[in-house]
Amino acid sequence: MLGTVLRIALIVSSLLTAGFMLRHIRSAKVQIKDSVFWIIFSFFILLLSLFPNIAGWASNLLGIASPINFVFLFIIFVLLVHQFYASVRISQMETKMKLLAQQIALDEKDRQDKES
């Protein structure tokens, strides 16, 4: 079983995560599609801490000795997947940015050559 203090900590941190993300949306600092992941993520953490039986059932199923280890595993796994997609997106963004910068420079060069 998950300890009471841990459950409270998890509930508080999941609420904080969701609140933090929503505040960023309010002040237009993050795109909604990027915040959706964190809202769902904090919802699941909330779920796990409100209903500790879920962790107990899942750790039984997977053969994990303690439910808390399942909670850790779950969080690590979800974050890894998210990190992977973030890497891919950064890569694509860098490529696009590079192309744009080159295009601006080349166009500017052509424009100046035509003037002179």
Binding site: T95, M97, K98, A101, Q102, I104, A105, L106, E108, K109
Partner: protein, 240 residues
């Protein structure tokens, strides 16, 4: 053969004038373009004042991005060959002609190598070079004496590949990939000067990181790349 000398420059105001002057004196027959890679010093002003042929990138893209901008310029203006030439004075212009000659003989790529006839020193500094050489030999069967030399010339076919594609940094792993896909390569012996001004980009930590990246890329990652034929994708470009 119309040849473009691509000179990526990041904060090279001290060495650039001498490099351009030397280049125009030794090989006036070749065009050049300086790619000012978002320099923070007065490289841009210097180029404008002296009337250099310059492309000013609005932000710093790094060597690969700057070189690619030059390559795209070469492609847009129909050059037959483009050579990567350092702005710090390490590359000597008298070796451009023999490199162009190697392309005229039918090679896709020619490298100005420090170690064709000269023995590569067995120093810690050259350890990376040895490892990359070995990795390339292992995966392509070709012996490249000086894989990290930045003095490389590319023909039209290669220009089109470099201009259009992702993951085409002018580095040993790209060379290795191209070799495996049937590009032909030649090396000629060149001398290189010590850099005339400024600090080298390669610190100890960066060198080690570069070496690790290159080795992993050549030995592992390049096998999984999908072949994109530039000859096909290139058509109708430049009309946009």
């Amino acid at each position: 053969m119309r040849v473009l000398v691509v000179i990526p420059a990041y904060n090279e105001e001290e060495s650039l004038p001498a490099v351009i002057q030397n280049l125009q004196m030794v090989c006036p027959e070749y065009d050049y373009v300086v790619v000012n890679d978002g320099s923070k010093d007065s490289t841009a002003v210097l180029c404008a004042q002296n009337g250099y042929n310059v492309i000013n990138l609005p932000i710093n893209l790094g060597l690969a991005g700057a070189f690619q901008a030059g390559i795209r310029y070469a492609q847009n203006h129909g050059y037959d060959a483009a050579i990567q030439f350092d702005a710090d004075g390490q590359h000597l212009p008298q070796y451009i002609k023999p490199l162009v000659q190697k392309l005229a003989e039918g090679n896709d790529i020619a490298i100005g190598s420090r170690f064709v006839t000269v023995k590569k020193p067995k120093s810690l500094r050259m350890l990376g070079s040895y490892i990359i050489s070995f990795a390339m030999r292992f995966t392509t069967g070709k012996k490249i004496c000086d894989p990290t030399s930045g003095m490389r010339i590319f023909n039209r076919r290669m220009i089109n590949e470099f201009a259009d594609n992702l993951n085409y940094a002018p580095e040993p792993d790209t060379i290795s990939y191209l070799l495996r896909n049937g590009a032909t390569i030649a090396e000629i012996q060149v001398e290189m000067a010590e850099r005339t001004a400024g600090a080298s980009y390669f610190t100890m930590v960066r060198s080690m990181r570069y070496m690790a990246e290159m080795t992993i890329s050549i030995l592992l990652i390049q096998w999984f790349r999908k072949r994109e034929l530039a000859d096909k994708s290139h058509k109708n470009k430049g009309e946009k």
